[in-house]
Amino acid sequence: MAIGKSIPVVDSVAKVTGTIPYGINMKLPNMLFAKILHSPLPHAKIVSIDTSAAEELPGVVAILTGKDLGQPNGPQKLITGFIKDRPVIALDRVRYIGEPVAVVAAESEKIAEEALYMIDVDYEDLPAIYETKASMQPDAPILNEAFPDNCYRHAKLRHGDIEAGFAAADAIIEEVYTSPAAQHVTLEPHVNAAQWKDGRLTVWSGSQSPHRVRGSLAALLGIEKDRVRVIVPPLGGGYGGKGHVRLQPLIAAIAWKVGGRPVKLTLTRSEEFVNVTKHAVTITIKSGVKKDGTFTARQVTLHWNGGAYADSSASLVGSGMVRAVGPYRIPHVWVDSYGYYTNLPPSGPFRGAMSSQTTWAYESHMDTIAHRLGMDPLKLRLKNLLVSGDEFATSEILHDIHFVECLKTCADNLGWERPLDRSGESETVKRGRGLGVMMKSTIPTSQSECRLKVDTQGQLSFYTSTVEMGQGAHTALAQIAAEAMEVPFETVTTIGPDTDRTPFDTTTSAARSTGMMGMAIFNGAEILKQKLIEAAVPLLEHPAEELSVKDGHVIVTAKPEQRMSYAEVVGRNNLESLEALGAFETKGGLDPETGQGLSTPHWHQGAGACEVEVDTETGKFTILRYQSASFAGRVVNPQLVRLQNDGNVIFGLGPAVLEEIVFDEGQIINPNLSDYMIPSFLDIPHQLNGEALESDVGEIHGIGEMTLPPVAPAIANAIYDAVGIRIRDLPITAEKVLRAMNNE
């Protein structure tokens, strides 16, 4: 049994010896290097672009600008997305500082960079907007004429009778929470390369979604999908930032202009900050409660700042709506989730997408309600947490729900029921405890396919478009493949992603891969085992009904000693291999007017609890202990689950207490790891424990995000418990804590 074992990841040796073939290492024969000229203005008309001097520079091979787009048999102007609004490269207007205006392909990065300085762009300033509050003003500049109010998506959830719900409440509590833009800071930046050869486009991309990239590029170029090949090397981190189409159209377009030679584009750290950010958001949350802590109603209004282009935000704003409600029994729910344009870099999913923002609001809000009612924050939650069989605000009936167990595990391990240990306290040092729990949908409609192949050497090849980005997917999935085919783990080889060889998969994100691709493997294995049985009929001289599969052999069920290995079955049929395609899909969706329907195949569930110490003289706080729990269903690899649980908490600490992209008139003033700090060894709690809760029913759940969203509210709630001040704007910093204490 390969499932359930902490098998070291398959590329362990390459990882510790430094030989793992990241995209950043990639060298292709005759390769050119690309560099981007970025817009220096947040909103401006492009009057003219003069590339003539740069084109004369020896070593410059091609320069692409908006003028090259939209020709017959060439790349279109706009990238296909949920809303088709983002140009491959700026056309006649720039909408954020950092937007690509020209791209140079040259013999070296240095020459390409030098050429950028020789491109002359004449701009005409336009008024710009940076916050959603400004976007919604009637006289605001319009960023996309198709949406004159700058709002490209209004997702609505209408459940029950919201007015009656508030009328029935003993208390109505309303608060506003904000969460700023942040950056994923994958240590490996976005790397893309492309080559046009023999009428085909090949793209090497550090992407979490190879088939999504292929589809988008085929649409961009007006060619059949099979003329586009997307190959994904191992990624040095993804965290959602590499999930949607970003620079692949740009690299495909410059490669098209170059014609023949491959072109590679590697972003610098500062370019990463303008490439994609976490959505900033303002969340107004209002709850009606009875004196005993029973909820009567909840209304949530979210204004997402998606930056200058809607592309993936148009979909994510809808996900954010579902994820804004929280895991509680609330009879009347009303959510308005708005996506707004601003003159900032475009936003995309950020690990725990939209949930880390919404959980910040609803879990901080829960503590405010508890304190208003004079209830213990844990008791208020336990009284209201959803359980299996309950109806959610989308009207779907919940199954496999374990919020109570997740939260109780954290509370128990922290010692919530015991009085707080105040031995470390003094006049100026106070301690407190806090907790949080989260509920996140995954993608409602998605599809995973894989190919399984057994050969005459007894090797099992597993072809998958699931991307390996450090989460260990290729190891965990190989474990599932080994178990499903009843062969030793060591005989499994994982191949992909390469869209020419590996079948369709929607994306490696939203913690969907182990569950979805895992099901595709089980389904494919059933087909392959049946093929092996049928192939063994003449060899074992028994009808198929009398044969079965065990330990890598086809056996005569009644006489198990009469058996033949898969390899022999294949070989004696004079075949090189036998293979099968496995597939799994889920379908769902919500009514656009009411948000009622099916929002997810299953719910991601996680919780956290912590103890903090606050220095009341400086506002500095230390997280002394942190306990997390996620619902993991059936655990495939305990060590990988632990890395995800702990990694989520540590990753989550960044936006909780450190990270914020700071803009000045649309210009990022901290686009580097000196001014934008991510968690180091000195920022993490000395005591950090995580638990993965398992289920007897054995459904495999993803665990890539579950323990992240509770981090920020658990810390803020603990700070409130310690010093009685409520922080409502992320990140929670010593300065904000001190200022709030001084204002008390």
Binding site: K15, G18, G59, L187, P234, R642, L643, I678, F681, H686
Partner: protein, 160 residues
């Protein structure tokens, strides 16, 4: 290239001498990666903050993105490729595998080299010393707990 001045330098990397022509402004990191094909050191931030480009110069950790190749002449440079002997991994590398002390592993060679340098300087470091010593290496995936266990194991096993 525009009449760039190239200097002939000799670099001592992992016990091997390399004669190369380097421009005076090229970093040690780019030289290791582009000229010598040693890709274990990687750029993460380009300003010496993340530690992904860590190499050892005369046994001490430095950010190779901040050192010029010409400055490295006459010094003994060790990269992660110099730790294993053929198929045999350095015990610190083995400990990182045994404790699953990485996820995407972009930062791993830097962490491993910093661990090697730490244990050389202080064979019996307490946990606080480990945290402080490794604070110059960033792991965005957040594998710090496992990294700590890998280093603690090296300490208990007296690996240096």
């Amino acid at each position: 290239m525009n009449n760039e001045q190239l200097t002939k330098i000799t670099l001592q990397v992992n016990g091997i001498e390399h004669e190369i022509s380097a421009s005076p402004e090229v970093t040690l990191l780019d030289t290791l990666r582009d000229e010598l094909g040693l890709v274990g050191a990687r750029e993460g931030c380009g300003i010496g903050m993340c530690g992904a480009c860590t190499v050892l110069v005369d046994g001490r950790t430095i950010s190779s993105c901040l050192m010029l190749a010409v400055q490295a002449e006459g010094h003994e440079i060790t990269t992660v490729e110099g730790l294993s002997k053929g198929e045999k991994l350095h015990p610190v590398q083995q400990s990182y595998i045994d404790h699953a002390a990485f996820q995407c592993a972009y930062c791993t060679p830097g962490f491993i080299l910093s661990t090697v340098a730490l244990l050389e300087e202080e064979p019996n470091p307490d946990d606080e010393t480990i945290r402080k010593y490794l604070a110059g290496n960033l792991c965005r995936c957040g594998s710090y707990m496992n990294i700590m266990e890998a280093v603690q194991h090296c300490r208990e096993a007296s690996i240096s």
